[in-house]
């Protein structure tokens, strides 16, 4: 599903964010990406979303190299990815329901279909009764869950999350990781960047460890994973 081949990224200005990173993630798997801050986690996710291009090597999605894809195609690559941001990236002048509807509007779905799917996605993150609420009226954890509902609503085959538990207490974080596991069991490829090591270890999923832009460890999933 996602494949990195000797990927290096150097930003203009000389910051070497990634050096020779190679790995492969199979479809429908749940993978965590850890490392201290500045280790290159965000850069790695940005490369998958075509927000950046690698300096060396190549990133492949479904066997297709993003190197050969023109910038114009970046939006269609992003539509195949549900992205969850640490700072949620919600529109504060739109209701929760309209925020979640955004990817479906872009896809040009029928209004009734959009409403139905938005409610299903909000139900999944336990915020169905907040459909008409404004994002600013929600707590940080609830805003994060709105972001997750938006990432899932178009049912993309791939979900990326950048520090999704950054603002959540341990119980909520655990619940959220459980949701990610459910999604991966339903066939969605899930890649989560998180520095919450204890939580990541409890999940028992595969873990990629980055340090100063180098992939220093690739811990395979424990069979069975954690019990819920």
């Amino acid at each position: 599903m996602i494949r990195f081949e000797q990927v290096s990224k150097r930003y203009p200005g000389g910051n070497q964010a990634l050096s020779g990173v190679s790995f492969e993630i199979e479809a429908g798997s749940l993978v965590f990406l850890t490392g201290h801050s500045g280790a290159g986690k965000s850069t790695l996710l940005r490369l998958v979303m075509m927000l950046e291009r690698p300096t060396h090597g190549q990133v492949l999605i479904d066997g297709q190299s993003l190197n050969h894809m023109p910038d114009k195609q970046a939006p269609s690559v992003r539509r195949e990815i549900g992205m969850i941001f640490q700072d949620h990236k919600l529109l504060f002048d739109k209701t929760v329901g309209d925020n979640v509807a955004l990817p479906l509007l872009i896809a040009g779905l029928r209004y009734r279909e959009i409403r139905k799917r938005v409610r299903a996605a909000l139900d999944k993150v336990g915020l169905l009764e907040k459909e008409k609420a404004w994002p600013l009226a929600l707590s940080g954890g609830e805003q994060q869950r709105v972001g997750i509902a938006r990432a899932m609503v178009a049912m993309p085959p791939m979900l990326l999350a950048d520090e999704p538990t950054g603002n959540l207490d341990p119980d909520l974080s655990w619940e959220l990781f459980g949701l990610f596991r459910e999604l991966s069991e339903a066939g969605v490829t899930v890649l989560i960047a998180s520095h919450d090591l204890s939580l990541v270890k409890r999940m028992g999923a595969r873990v990629l460890v980055l340090s100063d832009g180098v992939l220093i460890d690739d811990i395979p999933a424990r069979s069975g994973g954690a019990a819920f």
Binding site: K72, P75, E80, F85, L91, G108
Partner: protein, 325 residues
């Protein structure tokens, strides 16, 4: 199969457009005061060349009655005997370069003047008729599009013939003046073109600047749209609609102001032209011209918006600040 897929894609495209359409209207209504001010500026910018164009069109219609203007008026003192005047008219009629001749006696002139001027009462107090005889000589086939030089050559001998006659007090040929007016109208038309181009550019710039501010105010929204996979076309669309609305509303305002001005001017203008015996309808834009004006105003606005958004979107491509905190 392919047909169904195409139809599905078309429906998705149409739904995206209807979303952009309504969201652009919503934005304009949200910022009523700003919208109003922009539209006012656009309306004035469009009104200037439009107003000049309509004024020229109205002046242009004054020479619709070419015959009146291309005739030579010969004035003979009112004391001259009718037979003498008739003899002169007969002599003119015999010339090959004359198409027709008509004679207006001082009495006829007075009757006509009394009727159209509204000075009937005061004219009664005059002891004698101060009006001269007027012999109107229409030259044969005056080519109205001919240059002044050819015209002079063809008319000159006729003018000389009339002026040499000792019964004649003065000879007046208005056509030259008309032609000079024509030249001024040509100049005016060129001015309309130049003004139209300049103010067309002004409309583009005003809309581009308004949309630029709008884009800057909604930078966060645009970023989020791009991050969840909106194409540039989708992000651009509401702004293009906004630009079109701005231009269209500016055009509508310009037309309303023009109508108001014409209505205000029509009453004194009619009164003035009635004195000259000219049946005159004030010229305004035809329905087709109106549609062309409004559409092109809208398109100019669209173009301004396009230039503005396009510049911004170019910064959103891969490697930009997109999604970075």
């Amino acid at each position: 199969m392919a047909l169904r897929a195409a139809r599905r894609r078309f429906r998705a495209w149409a739904r995206r457009h209807s979303y952009s359409f309504f969201s652009s209207l919503g934005t304009l209504l949200q910022h009523r005061l700003g919208t109003l001010m922009t539209v006012l500026v656009l309306g004035i910018a469009i009104l200037l060349p439009l107003g000049l164009y309509v004024s020229l069109k109205n002046m242009d219609r004054l020479d619709v009655r070419q015959e009146d203007w291309s005739a030579i008026s010969v004035f003979i003192p009112g004391t001259m005997a009718a037979a003498e005047v008739e003899a002169l008219a007969e002599a003119a009629r015999d010339r090959p370069d004359v198409q027709s001749v008509s004679v207006i006696s001082p009495e006829q002139g007075m009757a006509e003047f009394r009727e159209v001027s509204g000075f009937g009462q005061s004219l009664e107090t005059l002891d004698e008729n101060p009006l001269p005889w007027v012999v109107t000589v229409l030259p044969a086939e005056v080519d109205t599009r001919g240059s002044t030089a050819t015209l002079s050559l063809r008319i000159q001998s006729l003018m000389d013939f009339l002026e040499r006659d000792e019964r004649v007090e003065s000879v007046q040929f208005d056509y030259k003046w008309l032609q000079r007016l024509g030249r001024f109208l040509d100049l005016g038309r060129a001015t309309v073109l130049v003004l139209g181009l300049l103010f067309g550019v002004a409309v583009i710039v005003v809309v581009a600047n308004t949309i630029r501010l709008d884009v800057a105010a909604r930078a966060d929204e645009i970023e989020i749209f791009a991050l969840v996979g909106a194409s540039h076309a989708f992000i651009r669309q509401p702004f293009l609609y906004s630009g079109f609305w701005y231009g269209l509303m500016g055009g509508v305002l310009a037309v309303l102001m023009m109508w108001l001005a014409l209505f205000y001017l029509s009453i004194p203008l009619k009164r003035l032209l009635d004195v000259y015996g000219q049946g005159f309808e004030i010229y305004s834009l035809s329905p087709v011209q109106l549609i062309i004006l409004l559409l092109s105003s809208g398109l100019l606005g669209w173009l301004g918006a396009f230039l503005s958004v396009q510049r911004y979107l170019r910064m959103l491509v891969v490697g930009g600040s997109l999604g970075r905190r």
